[in-house]
């Protein structure tokens, strides 16, 4: 029982921590001069990277 609670606790904490941090990250605007960063990356085939060009067209 303790193990199941511990499992849910650890995974739940980490998951919600990630969600909170991601939310704040999305909300903070990038400092000026950083618009080019997103475009200057030409992508290297690692599609799991957050900055891969293929993500930008699918984002709504």
């Amino acid at each position: 029982m303790r193990q199941v609670l511990g499992l849910l606790g650890v995974l739940g904490t980490l998951g919600s921590l990630y969600a909170v941090l991601y939310y704040f990250n999305k909300k903070t605007p990038e400092p000026e001069g950083c618009e080019e960063i997103q475009n200057s990356c030409s992508g290297c085939g690692i599609t799991s990277c957050g900055r891969h060009p293929s993500h930008m067209s699918t984002e709504e």
């Binding site: 511990g6 499992l7 980490l14 990250n25 400092p31 950083c34 960063i37 290297c44």
Partner: protein, 191 residues
């Protein structure tokens, strides 16, 4: 003290994470086109590896072991790394925008980098204490940065040359990496 120094030297030069363990190859091929991006990537990796491995070390010994949940280490370490990268981006955006400008582009790439997860797991597998953990993490990242920088300088020269058409780009880069591995393996007698 000598123990820690041996560990540092072996992770940087002899048991190098790229040339000996073949980890971190994805950014090695993709980001090493010029020197400045190699340095940027190297520093970003240094920061993330040290931070994430310390956090996962703490999480393992303070939460997973007391609860008997050691089998969760893979999932929790990955989540810790992802959280840490998000936090780093947030922190840099708010407080050090200049650093964000130079390093920010590489941060999402490091979440799925083999090297970060390897260091976090390695610290647990080898049962390092805190001092060894720190030295291991710093050593691995310094080794990564060193090889990445050297490779980017070689690659700048390679891009200006004209090899056979089928060798252009990555195949030649791989053979160069092999020669570098051969060169660095000669340092094995250092310790």
């Amino acid at each position: 003290m000598g123990d820690l120094l041996t560990l540092f030297l072996s992770t940087v030069l002899i048991d190098n994470i790229i040339l000996s363990h073949f980890l971190g190859m994805c950014p090695f091929m993709g980001v090493s086109k010029n020197r400045s991006s190699a340095l940027g990537m190297g520093f970003a990796v240094l920061f993330v590896i040290v931070g994430a491995s310390l956090l996962s070390y703490a999480l393992y010994y303070l939460a997973l072991v007391p609860l008997g949940l050691e089998y969760l280490e893979l999932i929790t370490f990955i989540l810790v790394i992802a959280c840490f990268v998000q936090f780093t981006e947030l922190f840099l955006k708010k407080f050090i925008p200049s650093l964000y400008k130079s390093l920010g582009i590489f941060l999402p790439l490091i979440t799925t980098n083999c090297a970060v997860l390897y260091v976090a797991l390695d610290n647990i597998t080898n049962s390092y204490d805190l001092a060894h953990t720190i030295v291991n993490s710093v050593g691995v990242s310094v080794g990564f940065m060193l090889i990445l920088y050297i490779f980017s300088t070689i690659r700048e020269r390679l891009d200006a040359s004209t090899p056979l058409k089928s060798f252009v780009g990555n195949p030649l880069a791989l053979i160069t990496a092999g020669l570098m591995a051969l060169a660095f393996s000669g340092l094995a007698g250092l310790i």
